[in-house]
């Protein structure tokens, strides 16, 4: 009966089948889906759904720019308005990737200019962008609204000037922590007087002075400003004037936070802050001293994110400030606050979910200060909702970490950096295996883990056995043998990113993951025991992986110093520099 019915239906037009939604309805419904994972699932249901999904998708996230080509991307998704692109391997942030490695945005922009002329948003991480690219961008996309750059390089403030001059509809300019050639602050003065659409401006990490008058006029004429993060050149007095123009700010990054002020000026500053009733994110605060922090106290009532990581505050000053921040969810500090400061965190911030402690003097090897295991325990005791931690310290114990995870079993991101490589538990002299064992056994939701200290293969046995939700693992100076890495590759079903440096894993370990790497975004191994032959074997067995070895020119030994393996539908790179060998 079924066969007969089929013959009666007209061919090829699937939407005539009564059981299918018309395309328009399906697309409309699917356009409400935002999550990439959901969209990926939807696209696998059937051909109709695949098509509806691709037509209705407006934002695409590409975790590795070499995993796909702009041509393939634009062919599948015709209506993209917003692109997020990540380029270099993460260890490039720490100078482990030579300059001119790649991840240049320009070839993407050329294709986007043709296929996505209505592009509105571009968010880039670890990409190389030149001033020419910025100029091209600013002239090719008349609807361009949002530009966000994190950890990018290759450009100067001239590129920003092109954006400011030409992007008439810009709403967001977010320049974070980039390798930028900071020539001058003239770019800020390039926003035309008629330009009023800016809502987000972050130039906190640029050093040059900007024209304050231009900035003040910009802030006062852009009525929808919600995020303003200025740089160190902006004084307290100037900040006060900006706040008067924009009391509606939701995110504020101050400039330098100390200055000779008269009593009147101090009072005006305090009033300006008191009038900012919507601030939930605060950062900047360079050279903040006890003298000036009180002006913030009232504005901190609704604060959920406080970034003091450029402020050399001590524990006492931090404590005095935190008393006024009961709603804090995220806190970034320098280790100048020491354990005392962290005790205050535990006391005053019961809702804390994320803590990052950065080292103020990471290379000062003669001096030991900063935070210890005591501070870590103190925070965990007072903040049971803590689920994200990044902790740089000089000493740690297995017992302390076990206590921490007992207090806070919901960790999703656990990044512990004991700053001296191979350092054992300083009380027992044992490896730190049991610390990370406790983490993976207790924190079943763990997605991201970074390990440090003296670690044997046992740590990796634990990870493979217990960390069933682990997606990202960072390893440095750890392990004894191939077995360790094999445990992880065999045991962690959701592993997507694995980055390893200076650890004794070699070809056997590398090759044990053959079938795994296609389900991962990437693998990085540097200064391990992998050889060129091992890398070649991997490349030969897995043609759909790109296996790249970075070797300094002229060095002809058999070691594969740095190997980067990633899946790709675009085939091998065509823009690889001479020091990148594609196998």
């Amino acid at each position: 009966m079924e066969c007969k019915r089929k013959k009666e239906w007209p061919e090829s037009n699937d939407s005539n089948r009564p059981t299918t939604f018309p395309d328009e309805v399906l697309e409309r419904v699917l356009s409400l889906l935002k999550s990439h994972k959901d969209r990926s699932s939807v696209s696998l249901v059937c051909k109709d759904w695949y098509n509806a999904e691709r037509w209705s998708r407006s934002h695409v996230f590409i975790g590795n720019c070499y995993s796909v080509s702009p041509e393939i991307l634009t062919r599948r998704f015709p209506n993209i308005r917003s692109v997020t692109l990540k380029g270099k391997p993460r260890f490039s942030d720490f100078n482990l990737v030579p300059p001119n490695w790649g991840a240049d945005i320009h070839s993407w922009l050329l294709v986007f200019a043709k296929k996505y002329p209505l592009l509105q948003e571009l968010k880039l991480k670890r990409m190389t962008v030149t001033d020419e690219s910025f100029e091209f961008l600013s002239l090719s996309f008349p609807n361009f609204k949002v530009l966000s750059l994190l950890s990018c390089d290759g450009f100067s403030t001239d590129g920003l000037a092109a954006i400011a001059t030409n992007c008439k509809n810009l709403t967001e300019l977010d320049i974070q922590e980039n390798g930028i050639d900071d020539k001058n602050g003239n770019w800020l003065s390039c926003f035309p007087e008629s330009f009023t659409s800016l809502e987000v401006l972050n130039f906190a990490n640029l050093h040059s002075d900007v024209n304050f008058d231009a900035l003040e006029r910009l802030v006062s004429r852009c009525k929808s400003f919600k995020t303003l993060k200025v740089n160190k050149s902006i004084t307290l007095e100037q900040l006060q004037r900006l706040l008067v123009h924009a009391p509606q700010l939701v995110e504020l990054g101050t400039g330098i936070f100390s200055q000779e002020l008269t009593a009147q000026q101090y009072s005006e500053l305090e009033t300006a802050f008191n009038n900012c009733k919507n601030i939930h994110t605060l950062s900047g605060l360079w050279t903040a001293t006890a003298q000036f922090l009180p002006v913030l106290y009232r504005a901190c009532a609704n604060l959920t994110f406080l970034n003091l990581s450029y402020s050399t505050l001590d524990g006492d000053d931090l404590a005095k400030l935190l008393v006024h921040c009961p709603n804090l969810r995220r806190l970034w500090v320098l280790d100048t606050v020491e354990d005392k400061g962290l005790e205050a965190v535990g006391s005053y911030c019961p809702l804390l979910e994320e803590l990052r402690v950065f080292p103020a003097d990471p290379y000062d090897q003669d001096v030991v200060h900063g935070v210890t295991e005591a501070g870590f325990i103190a925070v965990s005791g007072g903040c049971p909702r803590l689920h994200y931690v990044l902790y740089f310290c000089h000493q740690m114990t297995n017992a302390a970490v076990a206590t921490v995870v007992q207090n806070c079993p919901d960790f999703t991101h656990f990044r512990l950096c004991i700053m001296n490589p191979h350092q054992p538990d300083y009380l027992t002299d044992e490896p730190m295996d049991e610390a990370f064992g406790a983490v993976v056994k207790t924190c079943t939701k763990l997605q991201r883990l970074a390990v440090s200290g003296l670690l044997t293969d046992l740590t990796f046995e634990y990870i493979g056995k217990y960390a069933k939700n682990l997606e990202t693992l960072s390893v440095a100076f750890a392990g004894n043998s191939d077995w360790g890495m094999q445990c992880v590759l065999e045991g962690c079903p959701k592993l997507r990113k694995l980055e390893i440096r200076d650890s004794p894993f070699g070809n056997a370990a590398l090759l044990s993951g053959l079938e795994k790497y296609e389900s991962m975004r990437s693998l990085w191994m540097s200064d391990c025991n992998v050889t060129m032959n091992g890398a070649r074997l991997l490349a030969k067995e897995m043609p759909r992986l790109n296996v790249e070895v970075i070797k300094e020119e002229g060095i002809n030994n058999s070691k594969a110093d740095k190997i980067y393996v990633y899946r790709s539908v675009a085939g091998p790179r065509r823009d690889a520099p001479p020091f990148v060998f594609t196998l």
């Binding site: 260890f91 100078n95 922590e177 450029y310 001096v367 200060h369 100076f477 200076d502 050889t531 074997l537």
Partner: protein
């Protein structure tokens, strides 16, 4: 997939330094021991856990490291893992801080002749010379003796000195406390005999 066969072949054709016939087990063991050298506990500093470690490749893998003084610490590329931006920013701040901040509320480094490690103290924590001197004597387990304007620190093995804004080395105690606080850039506990040359030559 079993690659043992392939791997065995690889080994045979592998270009390596070292004598032929040296087996993998031996290599692995020495490699891993080198990489997991224990800290030299003997040399750890008085108070907090110290940051003493050997260079990654140093040592001969034996466990008798305790009596070997730590070699100069090599700075490892990209470690600790902090973004270059952040690293530069904080260094700049530390460098600037000592010069720009008028209240002098910064840490100053303290060294002692003959001691392997520097310390840092926060000058503002102290209110007067006696407090500072007591703290220094406790920190470095030494004594300074009686201070007199004419003779400096008499009858002691060590004397506290400091470097001021102009780069000159002065005896601690010669200037009023507030002037000292705002001009002191670093402290050095000198051997008494060396310190005799300071202070008296105005």
């Amino acid at each position: 997939m079993n690659f043992e066969g392939e791997l065995m072949n690889l080994k045979d054709t592998e270009l390596r330094l070292g004598l032929p016939g040296r087996d993998e087990e031996q290599e692995k063991r020495s490699c891993s021991v080198v990489k997991s050298n224990k800290r030299c506990r003997h040399e750890s500093s008085e108070e907090e856990g110290s940051s003493v470690t050997e260079k990654n490749n140093a040592g001969d893998g034996s466990d008798d490291q305790d009596n070997v003084p730590p070699p100069a610490k090599a700075q490892v590329v990209g470690w600790p893992p902090i973004r270059s931006y952040r690293k530069n920013c904080v260094q700049q701040q530390n460098n600037k801080g000592c010069q720009e901040r008028s209240d002098g509320a910064e840490y100053v480094k303290v060294s002692m002749d003959g001691a392997p490690y520097l310390r840092k103290i926060h000058l503002r924590v102290y209110n007067c010379y006696p407090q500072l001197l007591e703290a220094l004597q406790n920190m470095f387990k030494c004594t300074f003796g009686e201070y007199s304007e004419r003779e400096g620190y008499n009858g002691s093995e060590y004397a506290p000195t400091y470097q001021d804004k102009d780069g000159d080395w002065m005896l601690v105690g010669d200037v009023p406390w507030n002037m000292f606080i705002s001009s002191c850039k670093r402290l050095r506990i000198m051997k008494g005999s060396d310190a005799k040359g300071l202070g008296g030559c105005l």
